[in-house]
């Protein structure tokens, strides 16, 4: 329970940041706003990681998500969205069923979480050790195979992304046999 | 009690015919590539068939010479685990009960093989194509398969293996009768008879028996106690016949559930008995036999009568007498009565037959009845007589069917009344028929007599004195048998020669080399049956119930 109040405050702040970002992503009418709101979520989650003494994950979260994924998404938004169309750049459908589904799912998860783990408290160390070197050890010993596999995956993704993004659609492969799709 | 492998001779013997099958198949497969002629394939398969049969016979003789007679132990055992999960073993071996049948198998199949080739004699007749020229390689493949099945049946000591071989016997026979037998014909009354009808009748009948046997086998397996396989694996149940015998003797099955108010042992006894009695064949399950015999080609009749009927009797000896020994006395009277019905009924029905082959077929029914009676007597003379009758019938009935084949090959009819005075034209043949008939009607000095007299003697000595009445009734058949054989003899061979048959010719060399050895054996075992007794007595007599204090058996 040491240093708890700081942690509690930090937790609520970071959780609010993440959730607010997520809400904006969900409800904003502009896709650009959504994309930027996503930033908040990512940072908030990274903070929560840090709060959980998962320093390496937090750093990676920031680097990969904020520095990589988010940038990609913004590029995509910019490449595809007709920004000039104004506020309604991020149209939605079926809000009511979506809302219902969201609430049902949220309710379920929250209730479950609270029922299962609500009263449980955990001792957290004052100065938890860095996780970088243990994780490095793990990655190169116990998880060496997934590690290598995922590196191969990354290579494949690299090549695949390049191929897909740069390749021309083959004739007839675009599903235009019936000529329905707008050009 | 556990017999490890001592010799692979028996396995070689059982599967030698399969090697032959492989060779025939190989040649058939290579035929298009090597451009072999049809005639070559035919002659090759005939040669292979003859050689394999001869080889089996030679191995059987080798086993005979190596068999120690004064022991009831399993000899020439070959024992290995086959399907570990179900406790199934490959366990073959011979004891006194089976050795004589194995030898007989070799002999009868050799005779059948020789009778199946068109060589060494005239068979050309454009109007009546002979079976031995029809789809030859297929015939020989099935023939050899049948031999494997029969040998396996006689030597299996694992119930599951026994059942497999039992079924292996069934299918080739079906095709051999159906395809190479008489073509379908319409009889009076619009009934269709002929090879296919006979084959399907045979098949369904024996299959019905097999089903009962299968049920009994599974029931016994399910209720059998824990055992060990030959390699030491412990199993919950067992198929090993010797182990099962011991368990039955020890009363392990007394806790098994009753079936229809019968104890478990009695219930499986009945199921197995009916299953085997169809093959014997026992009244009233005998009607497949005349049809199958009449429409089967000669060598197949020979094998059917000479060996296949014996598998049923063998089953009774091995399972009903040996394994279910405790229920045997309970059933003896019924078996005896059925045996006598077989004997007398078969003999009477014989007398009314117009077709020579049918007559011989019914005479088989009659003569197999002796085996049942001898078994039921449960005296040393009775059971030995039963086995000897199996053996002697296994020599005599092939002779009779070969004889029927001889005249059918020439005259294309077997209608007894249509002949007459053949003795003038075919003296050698007549002499052979006379010998075979006399042997079959139990003339002393020929093999048939020994079996009959022992069965009757044994029946008279049964603990239940009512058996004496049974024997008195059964022995009436000696009169009836003499009546129908001599009457047949008179109608076919004596009197004035019917001019229609003036063109017939006497026996050829192929018929001689099948008939003369059998005739010689008939005489030999009639005057000196001890070799067979030496084989079977020790094993058989150990199985008989000991009656309180009486030694007079």
């Amino acid at each position: 329970m040491n240093g708890s109040i700081v942690q509690v405050v930090l937790f609520y702040l970071l959780a609010a940041l993440a959730l607010t970002g997520a809400c904006l992503v969900a409800f904003s009418r502009s896709i650009v706003h959504s994309a930027f709101a996503l930033l908040g979520t990512f940072v908030g989650v990274a903070g929560l990681y840090a709060l959980l003494a998962a320093d390496l994950v937090a750093i990676v979260q920031v680097m990969v998500y904020v520095g990589g994924v988010l940038i990609l998404i913004l590029f995509a938004v910019m490449l595809t969205a007709r920004v000039d169309e104004g506020k309604e750049s991020n149209p939605t459908v079926g809000k009511i069923p979506g809302l219902l589904a969201m609430l049902a799912m949220a309710g379920l998860l929250v209730v479950t979480a609270v029922k299962a783990f609500g009263p449980r408290t955990v001792i957290s160390e004052a100065n938890p050790p860095s996780t970088v070197s243990p994780i490095g050890n793990l990655l190169l010993s116990k998880y060496v195979l997934p590690f290598e596999a995922i590196s191969v995956l990354l290579l494949a993704v690299l090549l695949g992304a390049v191929t897909i993004a740069s390749g021309r659609m083959r004739k007839g492969a675009g599903g235009k046999q019936e000529g329905e799709a707008p050009r | 009690m556990d017999y490890p492998t001592t010799s692979s001779l028996l396995s070689w013997m059982i599967f030698t015919p399969m090697i032959g099958v492989g060779m025939i198949l190989l040649v058939l497969g290579l035929r298009p590539f090597l451009r072999l002629s049809q005639a070559f394939a035919d002659n090759f398969s005939r040669t292979v068939g003859l050689l394999c049969s001869a080889l089996v016979m030679a191995m059987a003789l080798a086993m005979w010479s190596g068999f120690k007679g004064g022991s009831s132990a399993i000899q020439f055992a070959h024992h290995a685990v086959w399907i570990r999960q179900w406790a199934v073993e490959y366990f073959v071996g011979v004891d006194g009960i089976s050795i004589s049948m194995v030898i007989l198998t070799g002999l009868v199949f050799l005779a059948g093989a020789i009778a199946s080739v068109p060589w060494w004699g005239r068979l050309d007749d454009a109007h009546h194509p002979h079976f031995s020229k029809k789809r030859v390689p297929g015939y020989w493949i099935l023939f050899l398969l049948l031999e494997t099945g029969v040998l396996g049946t006689f030597s299996s000591l694992d119930f599951f293996l026994f059942y497999i071989f039992w079924e292996v016997m069934l299918l080739p026979m079906y095709f051999l009768i159906g395809i190479w037998g008489a073509p379908p014909r319409v009889e009076a009354g619009g009934r269709v008879r002929g090879g296919p009808y006979a084959a399907i009748k045979f098949f369904l009948y024996t299959l019905a028996g097999s089903v009962l046997m299968l049920l009994a086998m599974i029931a016994i397996y399910q209720h059998s106690g824990p055992s060990t396989l030959v390699d030491g694996t412990r199993t919950l149940h067992t198929f090993n016949i010797l182990h099962l015998t011991k368990m039955f003797a020890a009363g392990s099955f007394s806790v098994a559930p009753a079936v229809f108010g019968l104890t478990f042992m009695h219930a499986v006894f009945i199921a197995l008995f009916i299953g085997f009695s169809i093959k014997v064949p026992m009244f009233p399950f005998h009607t497949w036999l005349p049809d199958a015999h009449v429409d089967a080609p000669t060598p197949i009749s020979v094998i059917l009568a000479g060996i296949l009927l014996k598998t049923g009797m063998y089953g009774m000896l091995r399972f009903n007498l040996q394994m279910l020994n405790g229920a045997m006395e309970w059933a003896a009277w019924t078996i005896g009565v059925l045996g006598v019905i077989n004997i007398v009924y078969g003999a009477f029905v014989c007398m009314a037959q117009k077709d020579l082959k049918k007559l011989i077929a019914y005479s088989s029914v009659s003569h197999m009845g002796f085996c049942l009676l001898g078994l039921a007597a449960l005296t040393p003379q009775g059971v030995t007589g039963c086995v000897f009758q199996m053996f002697s019938h296994g020599i005599i009935s092939p002779m009779l069917f070969l004889i029927a084949g001889v005249i059918y090959d020439r005259a294309h009819t077997r209608e007894i009344a249509g002949f007459g005075g053949l003795a003038e034209r075919l003296p050698e043949y007549t002499g052979m028929v006379g010998l075979a008939f006399m042997a079959s009607l139990g003339l002393p000095g020929l093999a048939g007599f020994i079996g009959e007299v022992l069965v009757f003697m044994g029946g008279f000595g049964a603990t239940n004195h009512a058996f004496r009445g049974l024997v008195a009734v059964g022995a009436l058949s000696v009169i009836i048998t003499a009546g129908y054989y001599l009457w047949t003899m008179q109608r076919m061979f004596l009197g004035m020669l019917n001019d229609k048959w003036a063109g017939l010719w006497d026996m050829n060399w192929r018929e001689r080399i099948t008939l003369y050895p059998l005739a010689a054996l008939t005489i030999l075992f009639g005057v000196y049956p001890a070799p067979i007794f030496n084989l079977v007595n020790t094993t058989l007599h150990a199985l008989l119930p000991v009656v309180g204090g009486a030694v007079i058996r």
Binding site: I31, V45, I73, F75, V93, F117 | -
Partner: protein, 105 residues
């Protein structure tokens, strides 16, 4: 009062639900991709929280390793997905998933 596993799970559950909502309601493929990222983040948060606060004990880092792998996978997925989106855009001149329904049965 302290922050336990339940709190993190509640946050993660809400994140997940919002991501789901995005997935259900958005028509824009890129926006849906954002939803996916939200869901993924929720999941990863769960893992790290369990790794730290779950019954396995604090010195077990497997959950964090999973989270790392998850992040990498998410990145890879995002890359491929965006490439696809680009291609989709080229083909249909739109990233509106309600319009690109050529494969419907």
């Amino acid at each position: 009062m302290s922050i336990g596993l339940g709190h993190y799970l509640v946050v993660s559950g809400l994140l997940f639900s919002l991501g789901l909502y995005v997935l259900i309601t958005r028509k824009n493929a890129v926006a849906m991709l954002m939803g996916v990222e939200l869901v993924l983040n929720a999941a990863l948060l769960n893992m790290v929280a369990f790794s730290r606060l779950g019954r396995v004990g604090p010195d077990k880092l497997d959950g964090q390793v999973f989270a790392l792998f998850g992040i990498v996978l998410a990145a890879a997925e995002a890359v491929v997905a965006l490439a696809l989106v680009l291609q989709l855009y080229r083909a249909f001149r739109s990233v509106d998933t309600t319009e690109t329904t050529d494969l419907k049965g």
